[in-house]
Amino acid sequence: MAHSPRKGSPARWAAVILPPLCLGGLLAWTADIFSPAAISPSHFMQRFHNAGAPGDGFRRAHAKGMCTTGWFDPSPEGRALSRSGIFRGEHLPVMGRFSLAPPLPYLPDNPAVARSLSMQIRSPSGDDWRLALVDAPLQSMRDIADAYAFFGAAKLDPATHRPDPVAVQAYAAQRPWLKTAFAQAKAHKQTSDLTNDTYNSLDSFILTDEAGKKTAVRWAAVAQEPFSPADGSGANDGNYLFKRLVQTLDQRPLRWDIVATVARKGDPVNDSSQPWDNADQKVTVGTVTFTKAYSEDESPCGPMVFDPTILPDGISASDDPLLALRSSVYMRSYATRSAEHKAPSMVTPGDVASPTLTQDEKGQ
Protein backbone atom coordinates (compact mmCIF):
# COMPACT_ATOMS: atom_id res chain seq x y z
CA MET A 1 0.00 0.00 0.00
CA ALA A 2 1.20 3.48 -0.80
CA HIS A 3 0.89 5.14 2.59
CA SER A 4 0.46 2.65 5.34
CA PRO A 5 0.63 4.48 8.69
CA ARG A 6 4.29 4.93 9.52
CA LYS A 7 5.46 4.37 13.02
CA GLY A 8 6.24 7.84 14.26
CA SER A 9 9.21 8.77 16.39
CA PRO A 10 8.41 10.14 19.88
CA ALA A 11 9.24 13.66 18.64
CA ARG A 12 6.60 13.30 15.91
CA TRP A 13 4.00 12.10 18.36
CA ALA A 14 4.85 14.98 20.69
CA ALA A 15 4.28 17.38 17.79
CA VAL A 16 0.82 15.85 17.32
CA ILE A 17 -0.24 15.79 20.96
CA LEU A 18 1.34 18.89 22.46
CA PRO A 19 -0.36 21.65 20.43
CA PRO A 20 -3.95 20.62 21.30
CA LEU A 21 -2.86 19.90 24.86
CA CYS A 22 -1.36 23.38 25.23
CA LEU A 23 -4.42 25.09 23.73
CA GLY A 24 -6.69 23.07 26.03
CA GLY A 25 -4.54 23.98 29.02
CA LEU A 26 -4.64 27.65 28.10
CA LEU A 27 -8.43 27.57 27.78
CA ALA A 28 -8.75 25.81 31.13
CA TRP A 29 -6.44 28.39 32.68
CA THR A 30 -8.63 31.17 31.24
CA ALA A 31 -11.63 29.52 32.91
CA ASP A 32 -9.70 29.82 36.22
CA ILE A 33 -9.61 26.07 36.74
CA PHE A 34 -6.08 26.35 38.15
CA SER A 35 -6.65 29.44 40.31
CA PRO A 36 -9.66 28.82 42.54
CA ALA A 37 -9.01 32.04 44.48
CA ALA A 38 -9.71 34.38 41.53
CA ILE A 39 -12.54 36.91 41.81
CA SER A 40 -15.26 35.43 39.60
CA PRO A 41 -19.05 35.67 39.27
CA SER A 42 -19.44 32.23 40.83
CA HIS A 43 -17.34 33.31 43.82
CA PHE A 44 -19.65 36.29 44.25
CA MET A 45 -22.57 33.81 44.25
CA GLN A 46 -20.75 31.83 46.94
CA ARG A 47 -20.36 34.98 49.03
CA PHE A 48 -24.05 35.88 48.68
CA HIS A 49 -24.87 32.33 49.73
CA ASN A 50 -22.67 32.70 52.81
CA ALA A 51 -24.39 36.00 53.55
CA GLY A 52 -27.73 34.18 53.73
CA ALA A 53 -29.04 33.95 50.14
CA PRO A 54 -31.02 30.69 50.16
CA GLY A 55 -31.27 30.12 46.40
CA ASP A 56 -34.85 28.93 45.84
CA GLY A 57 -35.21 31.13 42.75
CA PHE A 58 -34.68 34.40 44.62
CA ARG A 59 -32.28 37.18 43.67
CA ARG A 60 -28.89 36.77 45.32
CA ALA A 61 -29.19 40.32 46.66
CA HIS A 62 -32.17 42.60 47.24
CA ALA A 63 -34.11 39.37 47.56
CA LYS A 64 -37.32 40.58 49.22
CA GLY A 65 -39.42 42.77 46.99
CA MET A 66 -42.71 43.75 45.44
CA CYS A 67 -43.67 45.08 42.01
CA THR A 68 -45.42 48.27 40.94
CA THR A 69 -46.52 49.71 37.62
CA GLY A 70 -47.10 53.24 36.39
CA TRP A 71 -45.67 55.67 33.89
CA PHE A 72 -42.87 58.14 33.24
CA ASP A 73 -43.39 61.71 32.03
CA PRO A 74 -40.13 63.21 30.77
CA SER A 75 -39.33 66.92 31.06
CA PRO A 76 -37.90 69.29 28.39
CA GLU A 77 -34.80 69.62 30.60
CA GLY A 78 -34.19 65.89 30.19
CA ARG A 79 -34.55 66.22 26.42
CA ALA A 80 -31.84 68.89 26.43
CA LEU A 81 -29.37 66.63 28.26
CA SER A 82 -29.89 63.36 26.35
CA ARG A 83 -31.02 62.49 22.84
CA SER A 84 -32.60 59.26 24.17
CA GLY A 85 -36.04 58.38 22.81
CA ILE A 86 -37.10 58.00 26.46
CA PHE A 87 -37.08 61.79 26.87
CA ARG A 88 -38.91 62.30 23.59
CA GLY A 89 -41.87 60.15 24.58
CA GLU A 90 -44.74 60.87 26.92
CA HIS A 91 -46.51 58.74 29.45
CA LEU A 92 -44.09 55.82 29.00
CA PRO A 93 -44.86 52.55 30.80
CA VAL A 94 -42.76 51.88 33.92
CA MET A 95 -42.31 48.67 35.84
CA GLY A 96 -40.89 49.14 39.33
CA ARG A 97 -39.60 46.84 42.02
CA PHE A 98 -39.27 48.00 45.61
CA SER A 99 -36.95 45.83 47.66
CA LEU A 100 -34.90 45.41 50.81
CA ALA A 101 -31.17 45.29 50.09
CA PRO A 102 -30.09 42.13 52.00
CA PRO A 103 -29.92 38.74 50.27
CA LEU A 104 -32.68 37.44 52.61
CA PRO A 105 -36.07 36.91 50.90
CA TYR A 106 -37.91 36.40 54.20
CA LEU A 107 -36.40 39.28 56.17
CA PRO A 108 -39.07 40.95 58.34
CA ASP A 109 -39.40 44.67 57.50
CA ASN A 110 -37.61 46.88 60.03
CA PRO A 111 -36.44 50.50 60.16
CA ALA A 112 -32.71 49.66 60.09
CA VAL A 113 -32.54 47.90 56.76
CA ALA A 114 -31.47 49.58 53.47
CA ARG A 115 -34.10 49.78 50.73
CA SER A 116 -33.97 49.91 46.98
CA LEU A 117 -36.03 50.75 43.92
CA SER A 118 -35.48 49.28 40.45
CA MET A 119 -37.25 50.48 37.33
CA GLN A 120 -37.64 49.62 33.70
CA ILE A 121 -38.84 52.47 31.46
CA ARG A 122 -39.66 51.70 27.84
CA SER A 123 -40.46 53.81 24.79
CA PRO A 124 -42.64 52.72 21.86
CA SER A 125 -39.55 52.82 19.62
CA GLY A 126 -37.87 50.07 21.65
CA ASP A 127 -35.73 52.07 24.09
CA ASP A 128 -35.20 50.14 27.31
CA TRP A 129 -33.85 51.95 30.40
CA ARG A 130 -33.19 49.97 33.58
CA LEU A 131 -32.29 51.60 36.85
CA ALA A 132 -31.30 49.90 40.10
CA LEU A 133 -31.23 52.47 42.90
CA VAL A 134 -30.59 52.25 46.66
CA ASP A 135 -31.36 54.67 49.49
CA ALA A 136 -27.73 54.92 50.70
CA PRO A 137 -26.03 58.28 50.06
CA LEU A 138 -22.70 56.80 48.85
CA GLN A 139 -21.39 53.38 47.86
CA SER A 140 -19.38 51.66 50.59
CA MET A 141 -16.94 50.19 48.05
CA ARG A 142 -14.93 51.87 45.32
CA ASP A 143 -13.80 49.02 43.08
CA ILE A 144 -14.06 45.32 42.35
CA ALA A 145 -11.61 44.29 45.06
CA ASP A 146 -13.61 46.29 47.63
CA ALA A 147 -16.88 44.72 46.45
CA TYR A 148 -15.46 41.23 46.82
CA ALA A 149 -14.15 41.97 50.32
CA PHE A 150 -17.42 43.72 51.27
CA PHE A 151 -19.59 40.71 50.46
CA GLY A 152 -17.00 38.46 52.10
CA ALA A 153 -17.40 40.43 55.34
CA ALA A 154 -21.20 40.01 55.06
CA LYS A 155 -20.84 36.26 55.78
CA LEU A 156 -23.28 35.17 58.46
CA ASP A 157 -21.93 33.68 61.65
CA PRO A 158 -23.69 30.28 61.97
CA ALA A 159 -24.21 30.86 65.71
CA THR A 160 -25.64 34.40 65.69
CA HIS A 161 -27.06 34.49 62.11
CA ARG A 162 -25.48 37.93 61.81
CA PRO A 163 -22.31 39.11 60.09
CA ASP A 164 -19.26 38.99 62.32
CA PRO A 165 -18.90 42.58 63.68
CA VAL A 166 -15.12 42.20 63.78
CA ALA A 167 -14.99 41.41 60.04
CA VAL A 168 -17.32 44.32 59.23
CA GLN A 169 -15.21 46.74 61.30
CA ALA A 170 -12.00 45.42 59.75
CA TYR A 171 -13.43 46.04 56.27
CA ALA A 172 -14.00 49.70 57.12
CA ALA A 173 -10.76 50.14 59.10
CA GLN A 174 -8.59 48.80 56.26
CA ARG A 175 -10.12 51.26 53.78
CA PRO A 176 -9.48 54.88 54.74
CA TRP A 177 -10.82 55.96 51.32
CA LEU A 178 -14.31 54.89 52.46
CA LYS A 179 -14.29 57.18 55.51
CA THR A 180 -16.68 59.73 53.97
CA ALA A 181 -19.01 57.00 52.67
CA PHE A 182 -19.32 55.42 56.12
CA ALA A 183 -19.71 58.82 57.82
CA GLN A 184 -22.51 59.79 55.44
CA ALA A 185 -24.20 56.41 55.87
CA LYS A 186 -24.15 56.96 59.63
CA ALA A 187 -25.58 60.47 59.32
CA HIS A 188 -28.26 59.36 56.82
CA LYS A 189 -31.77 59.84 58.21
CA GLN A 190 -33.91 56.84 57.28
CA THR A 191 -37.50 57.62 56.27
CA SER A 192 -40.59 56.05 57.80
CA ASP A 193 -41.67 54.32 54.59
CA LEU A 194 -40.81 53.15 51.11
CA THR A 195 -43.22 55.81 49.84
CA ASN A 196 -41.22 58.83 51.05
CA ASP A 197 -37.71 57.45 50.54
CA THR A 198 -35.17 58.74 48.00
CA TYR A 199 -33.23 56.21 45.95
CA ASN A 200 -29.80 56.83 44.32
CA SER A 201 -27.89 55.32 41.42
CA LEU A 202 -24.54 56.03 43.16
CA ASP A 203 -22.75 54.93 39.99
CA SER A 204 -22.45 57.60 37.28
CA PHE A 205 -23.79 57.58 33.74
CA ILE A 206 -22.95 59.57 30.62
CA LEU A 207 -25.70 61.42 28.77
CA THR A 208 -25.25 62.36 25.10
CA ASP A 209 -27.35 65.14 23.58
CA GLU A 210 -28.40 65.75 19.92
CA ALA A 211 -25.12 67.54 19.19
CA GLY A 212 -23.03 64.75 20.70
CA LYS A 213 -22.15 66.71 23.84
CA LYS A 214 -21.57 64.43 26.82
CA THR A 215 -22.60 65.07 30.43
CA ALA A 216 -21.77 62.86 33.43
CA VAL A 217 -24.64 62.47 35.93
CA ARG A 218 -25.72 60.53 39.00
CA TRP A 219 -29.41 59.65 39.25
CA ALA A 220 -31.80 59.97 42.16
CA ALA A 221 -35.48 59.09 42.41
CA VAL A 222 -36.66 61.77 44.85
CA ALA A 223 -39.99 61.12 46.60
CA GLN A 224 -42.65 63.82 46.30
CA GLU A 225 -44.16 62.58 49.59
CA PRO A 226 -42.91 64.59 52.59
CA PHE A 227 -40.11 63.24 54.80
CA SER A 228 -41.03 61.57 58.04
CA PRO A 229 -38.44 59.86 60.24
CA ALA A 230 -38.17 56.11 60.66
CA ASP A 231 -37.83 56.35 64.44
CA GLY A 232 -40.84 54.73 66.03
CA SER A 233 -42.53 54.17 62.65
CA GLY A 234 -42.16 50.37 62.68
CA ALA A 235 -45.11 48.06 63.15
CA ASN A 236 -45.64 44.55 64.38
CA ASP A 237 -46.02 43.13 60.90
CA GLY A 238 -43.15 41.59 58.95
CA ASN A 239 -44.41 43.21 55.74
CA TYR A 240 -45.40 46.61 57.14
CA LEU A 241 -43.24 48.63 54.71
CA PHE A 242 -44.67 46.88 51.67
CA LYS A 243 -48.26 46.78 52.99
CA ARG A 244 -48.18 50.51 53.75
CA LEU A 245 -46.92 51.13 50.21
CA VAL A 246 -49.89 49.13 48.86
CA GLN A 247 -52.31 50.96 51.17
CA THR A 248 -51.10 54.33 49.91
CA LEU A 249 -51.28 53.21 46.26
CA ASP A 250 -54.85 52.03 46.87
CA GLN A 251 -55.67 55.64 47.87
CA ARG A 252 -53.58 57.76 45.51
CA PRO A 253 -50.76 57.59 42.96
CA LEU A 254 -47.21 58.05 44.25
CA ARG A 255 -44.63 60.16 42.42
CA TRP A 256 -40.85 60.30 42.29
CA ASP A 257 -38.88 62.99 40.43
CA ILE A 258 -36.00 61.56 38.45
CA VAL A 259 -33.18 63.98 39.22
CA ALA A 260 -29.80 64.11 37.46
CA THR A 261 -26.94 65.60 39.46
CA VAL A 262 -24.61 67.04 36.82
CA ALA A 263 -20.88 66.52 37.41
CA ARG A 264 -18.61 69.52 37.44
CA LYS A 265 -14.86 69.42 36.79
CA GLY A 266 -13.23 67.50 39.62
CA ASP A 267 -16.25 65.36 40.59
CA PRO A 268 -15.09 61.70 40.57
CA VAL A 269 -17.14 60.01 37.84
CA ASN A 270 -15.58 56.55 38.21
CA ASP A 271 -15.78 56.30 42.01
CA SER A 272 -19.24 55.94 43.56
CA SER A 273 -17.80 55.98 47.09
CA GLN A 274 -16.85 59.67 46.85
CA PRO A 275 -19.25 62.62 47.18
CA TRP A 276 -19.70 65.21 44.45
CA ASP A 277 -19.69 68.97 45.01
CA ASN A 278 -22.75 70.07 46.99
CA ALA A 279 -23.28 72.98 44.63
CA ASP A 280 -23.65 70.72 41.56
CA GLN A 281 -26.60 71.54 39.31
CA LYS A 282 -29.62 69.25 39.76
CA VAL A 283 -31.92 68.70 36.78
CA THR A 284 -35.31 66.99 37.01
CA VAL A 285 -35.50 64.95 33.79
CA GLY A 286 -38.98 63.61 34.44
CA THR A 287 -41.40 62.13 36.94
CA VAL A 288 -42.36 58.53 37.65
CA THR A 289 -45.90 57.88 38.84
CA PHE A 290 -46.82 54.53 40.37
CA THR A 291 -50.49 53.52 40.61
CA LYS A 292 -50.64 49.75 41.16
CA ALA A 293 -48.87 47.11 43.22
CA TYR A 294 -48.39 43.39 42.53
CA SER A 295 -46.72 40.55 44.34
CA GLU A 296 -43.45 39.52 42.68
CA ASP A 297 -45.05 36.15 42.04
CA GLU A 298 -47.68 37.61 39.71
CA SER A 299 -45.66 40.22 37.81
CA PRO A 300 -42.83 39.97 35.25
CA CYS A 301 -40.75 42.28 37.49
CA GLY A 302 -40.19 39.26 39.76
CA PRO A 303 -38.18 37.18 37.31
CA MET A 304 -36.62 40.02 35.29
CA VAL A 305 -33.17 41.54 35.81
CA PHE A 306 -32.55 45.22 36.53
CA ASP A 307 -29.05 45.35 35.07
CA PRO A 308 -27.99 49.02 35.32
CA THR A 309 -25.99 48.74 32.07
CA ILE A 310 -29.13 48.05 30.00
CA LEU A 311 -29.47 51.56 28.60
CA PRO A 312 -31.06 53.28 25.61
CA ASP A 313 -29.04 55.23 23.04
CA GLY A 314 -28.27 58.64 24.59
CA ILE A 315 -27.46 57.18 28.03
CA SER A 316 -24.32 55.08 28.56
CA ALA A 317 -22.39 53.57 31.42
CA SER A 318 -19.47 55.52 32.89
CA ASP A 319 -16.08 53.90 33.43
CA ASP A 320 -16.99 53.16 37.07
CA PRO A 321 -15.60 49.62 37.52
CA LEU A 322 -18.59 48.67 39.70
CA LEU A 323 -21.04 49.10 36.80
CA ALA A 324 -19.35 46.49 34.62
CA LEU A 325 -19.02 44.22 37.66
CA ARG A 326 -22.70 44.57 38.47
CA SER A 327 -23.65 43.68 34.90
CA SER A 328 -21.67 40.44 35.08
CA VAL A 329 -22.75 39.49 38.61
CA TYR A 330 -26.44 40.30 38.01
CA MET A 331 -26.30 38.11 34.91
CA ARG A 332 -24.98 35.17 36.92
CA SER A 333 -27.57 35.67 39.66
CA TYR A 334 -30.28 36.01 37.01
CA ALA A 335 -29.21 32.86 35.14
CA THR A 336 -28.90 30.80 38.31
CA ARG A 337 -32.21 31.79 39.87
CA SER A 338 -34.08 31.50 36.54
CA ALA A 339 -33.14 27.82 36.33
CA GLU A 340 -34.30 27.17 39.92
CA HIS A 341 -37.80 26.40 41.16
CA LYS A 342 -38.98 29.59 42.87
CA ALA A 343 -40.41 29.47 46.40
CA PRO A 344 -43.29 31.90 47.17
CA SER A 345 -42.28 35.48 47.92
CA MET A 346 -42.86 36.89 51.40
CA VAL A 347 -45.13 39.64 50.05
CA THR A 348 -47.89 37.40 48.68
CA PRO A 349 -50.72 38.22 46.25
CA GLY A 350 -52.98 38.03 49.35
CA ASP A 351 -50.96 40.73 51.11
CA VAL A 352 -51.33 43.01 48.08
CA ALA A 353 -55.09 42.32 47.79
CA SER A 354 -55.76 43.07 51.47
CA PRO A 355 -52.85 45.01 52.95
CA THR A 356 -54.15 45.27 56.51
CA LEU A 357 -51.38 45.25 59.09
CA THR A 358 -51.61 42.23 61.33
CA GLN A 359 -49.56 41.14 64.26
CA ASP A 360 -48.13 38.09 62.58
CA GLU A 361 -45.46 35.62 63.51
CA LYS A 362 -43.16 37.24 60.94
CA GLY A 363 -43.12 40.49 62.92
CA GLN A 364 -40.43 41.19 65.45
Binding site: V16, I144, V305, A317, A324, S328, A335, A339
Partner: protein, 182 residues
Protein backbone atom coordinates in the same frame (compact mmCIF):
# COMPACT_ATOMS: atom_id res chain seq x y z
CA UNK B 1 13.00 20.60 14.60
CA UNK B 2 11.60 20.23 11.10
CA UNK B 3 9.56 17.51 9.52
CA UNK B 4 9.65 16.42 5.91
CA UNK B 5 6.99 17.90 3.66
CA UNK B 6 3.78 16.01 3.18
CA UNK B 7 4.22 13.27 0.67
CA UNK B 8 0.54 12.73 -0.10
CA UNK B 9 -1.10 14.19 -3.16
CA UNK B 10 -4.63 15.03 -2.04
CA UNK B 11 -6.14 17.89 -4.05
CA UNK B 12 -6.25 21.09 -2.00
CA UNK B 13 -9.45 22.76 -0.87
CA UNK B 14 -10.75 25.66 -3.00
CA UNK B 15 -9.32 29.07 -2.06
CA UNK B 16 -12.58 30.39 -0.59
CA UNK B 17 -12.95 27.29 1.61
CA UNK B 18 -9.42 27.72 2.93
CA UNK B 19 -9.97 31.42 3.63
CA UNK B 20 -13.26 30.76 5.46
CA UNK B 21 -11.70 27.92 7.44
CA UNK B 22 -8.81 29.97 8.81
CA UNK B 23 -10.70 33.22 9.40
CA UNK B 24 -13.38 31.36 11.32
CA UNK B 25 -10.81 29.27 13.19
CA UNK B 26 -9.12 32.40 14.50
CA UNK B 27 -12.41 34.11 15.37
CA UNK B 28 -13.80 31.04 17.14
CA UNK B 29 -10.68 30.66 19.28
CA UNK B 30 -10.88 34.36 20.16
CA UNK B 31 -14.58 33.90 21.04
CA UNK B 32 -13.79 30.96 23.30
CA UNK B 33 -11.20 32.95 25.22
CA UNK B 34 -13.42 36.04 25.44
CA UNK B 35 -16.40 33.97 26.61
CA UNK B 36 -14.38 32.17 29.25
CA UNK B 37 -12.87 35.41 30.57
CA UNK B 38 -16.35 37.03 30.79
CA UNK B 39 -17.85 34.10 32.62
CA UNK B 40 -14.96 33.31 34.97
CA UNK B 41 -13.14 36.52 35.79
CA UNK B 42 -14.81 39.57 37.29
CA UNK B 43 -11.75 41.80 37.19
CA UNK B 44 -11.38 42.20 33.41
CA UNK B 45 -13.38 44.89 31.61
CA UNK B 46 -16.69 43.10 31.20
CA UNK B 47 -18.69 45.59 29.17
CA UNK B 48 -16.14 45.82 26.36
CA UNK B 49 -15.58 42.08 26.19
CA UNK B 50 -19.32 41.42 26.12
CA UNK B 51 -19.82 43.85 23.21
CA UNK B 52 -16.94 42.16 21.37
CA UNK B 53 -18.44 38.73 22.12
CA UNK B 54 -21.86 39.65 20.72
CA UNK B 55 -20.42 41.36 17.64
CA UNK B 56 -17.97 38.61 16.66
CA UNK B 57 -20.65 36.02 17.54
CA UNK B 58 -23.03 37.44 14.95
CA UNK B 59 -20.20 37.81 12.44
CA UNK B 60 -19.48 34.10 12.92
CA UNK B 61 -23.15 33.23 12.42
CA UNK B 62 -23.04 35.08 9.09
CA UNK B 63 -19.78 33.39 8.12
CA UNK B 64 -21.03 29.89 8.94
CA UNK B 65 -24.02 30.40 6.64
CA UNK B 66 -21.71 31.49 3.81
CA UNK B 67 -19.47 28.53 4.61
CA UNK B 68 -22.32 26.02 4.46
CA UNK B 69 -23.46 27.37 1.09
CA UNK B 70 -19.87 27.19 -0.14
CA UNK B 71 -19.50 23.68 1.16
CA UNK B 72 -22.35 22.42 -1.00
CA UNK B 73 -21.66 24.69 -3.97
CA UNK B 74 -17.93 24.00 -4.11
CA UNK B 75 -16.12 20.65 -4.24
CA UNK B 76 -14.55 19.06 -1.17
CA UNK B 77 -11.44 16.93 -1.72
CA UNK B 78 -11.94 13.25 -0.95
CA UNK B 79 -10.08 11.67 1.96
CA UNK B 80 -7.14 9.41 1.00
CA UNK B 81 -8.20 6.03 -0.41
CA UNK B 82 -6.13 4.10 2.13
CA UNK B 83 -7.71 5.66 5.22
CA UNK B 84 -9.39 2.92 7.29
CA UNK B 85 -13.20 2.99 7.15
CA UNK B 86 -13.83 3.80 10.84
CA UNK B 87 -11.31 6.66 10.66
CA UNK B 88 -13.11 8.11 7.64
CA UNK B 89 -16.41 7.78 9.45
CA UNK B 90 -14.98 9.56 12.49
CA UNK B 91 -13.66 12.33 10.25
CA UNK B 92 -17.02 12.89 8.55
CA UNK B 93 -18.97 12.67 11.78
CA UNK B 94 -16.67 15.12 13.61
CA UNK B 95 -16.96 17.59 10.73
CA UNK B 96 -20.76 17.43 10.91
CA UNK B 97 -20.52 18.00 14.66
CA UNK B 98 -18.20 20.97 14.19
CA UNK B 99 -20.69 22.57 11.79
CA UNK B 100 -23.55 21.83 14.18
CA UNK B 101 -21.77 23.47 17.11
CA UNK B 102 -20.65 26.46 15.03
CA UNK B 103 -24.29 27.11 14.06
CA UNK B 104 -25.83 26.29 17.43
CA UNK B 105 -23.54 28.41 19.65
CA UNK B 106 -24.33 31.85 18.22
CA UNK B 107 -27.99 30.89 17.74
CA UNK B 108 -28.28 29.83 21.39
CA UNK B 109 -26.46 33.05 22.41
CA UNK B 110 -28.99 35.09 20.44
CA UNK B 111 -31.96 33.10 21.73
CA UNK B 112 -30.87 33.20 25.38
CA UNK B 113 -30.37 36.97 25.51
CA UNK B 114 -33.76 37.38 23.79
CA UNK B 115 -35.46 35.08 26.29
CA UNK B 116 -33.77 36.92 29.15
CA UNK B 117 -35.10 40.28 27.99
CA UNK B 118 -31.65 41.72 27.22
CA UNK B 119 -31.55 44.15 24.32
CA UNK B 120 -28.90 42.96 21.82
CA UNK B 121 -26.70 45.76 20.51
CA UNK B 122 -23.54 45.20 18.48
CA UNK B 123 -20.38 47.25 18.37
CA UNK B 124 -21.20 50.44 16.48
CA UNK B 125 -24.79 50.53 17.77
CA UNK B 126 -26.44 48.04 15.38
CA UNK B 127 -29.57 46.64 17.02
CA UNK B 128 -30.44 42.93 16.58
CA UNK B 129 -34.15 42.01 16.93
CA UNK B 130 -34.99 39.42 19.60
CA UNK B 131 -35.60 35.82 18.49
CA UNK B 132 -38.42 35.44 21.03
CA UNK B 133 -40.25 37.21 23.85
CA UNK B 134 -39.46 37.24 27.58
CA UNK B 135 -39.12 33.66 28.92
CA UNK B 136 -36.99 33.81 32.09
CA UNK B 137 -36.95 30.06 32.69
CA UNK B 138 -35.84 29.40 29.11
CA UNK B 139 -33.11 32.03 29.57
CA UNK B 140 -31.75 30.02 32.51
CA UNK B 141 -31.77 26.78 30.51
CA UNK B 142 -30.26 28.30 27.36
CA UNK B 143 -27.51 30.07 29.32
CA UNK B 144 -26.50 26.66 30.67
CA UNK B 145 -26.73 25.13 27.17
CA UNK B 146 -24.48 27.89 25.78
CA UNK B 147 -21.75 26.83 28.24
CA UNK B 148 -22.18 23.12 27.51
CA UNK B 149 -22.03 23.72 23.75
CA UNK B 150 -18.94 25.89 24.18
CA UNK B 151 -17.19 23.19 26.22
CA UNK B 152 -18.22 20.60 23.61
CA UNK B 153 -16.85 22.79 20.83
CA UNK B 154 -13.55 23.13 22.71
CA UNK B 155 -13.18 19.34 22.89
CA UNK B 156 -14.08 18.98 19.21
CA UNK B 157 -11.55 21.62 18.19
CA UNK B 158 -8.79 20.03 20.26
CA UNK B 159 -9.54 16.63 18.66
CA UNK B 160 -9.69 18.29 15.24
CA UNK B 161 -6.25 19.89 15.69
CA UNK B 162 -4.84 16.58 16.94
CA UNK B 163 -6.28 14.73 13.94
CA UNK B 164 -4.95 17.31 11.47
CA UNK B 165 -1.47 16.99 12.97
CA UNK B 166 -1.75 13.21 12.87
CA UNK B 167 -2.43 13.45 9.13
CA UNK B 168 0.36 15.92 8.59
CA UNK B 169 3.09 14.53 10.81
CA UNK B 170 2.48 10.81 11.32
CA UNK B 171 0.50 9.66 8.29
CA UNK B 172 1.82 12.37 5.96
CA UNK B 173 -1.05 11.67 3.58
CA UNK B 174 -1.61 15.19 2.26
CA UNK B 175 -4.83 15.82 4.21
CA UNK B 176 -3.31 18.61 6.31
CA UNK B 177 -1.78 20.19 3.24
CA UNK B 178 -5.16 20.28 1.53
CA UNK B 179 -6.30 22.92 4.02
CA UNK B 180 -3.00 24.79 3.86
CA UNK B 181 -3.38 25.28 0.13
CA UNK B 182 -0.56 22.95 -0.81
Amino acid sequence: MSFPQNTGHATPFPRLSILLHWVMAVLIIVMLFVGLVMAHDSTIHYAGLFTLHRTVGFLLLLLVVIRLVNRFANHTPALPMDMPGPMKLAAHFSHILLYGFMIALPLVGWAMLSAGGYPITLWGGCHIPPLMGFHPHLWGVLRCLHSLLAYGLILLILAHIGAALLHGIIRRDGVMGSMLGR
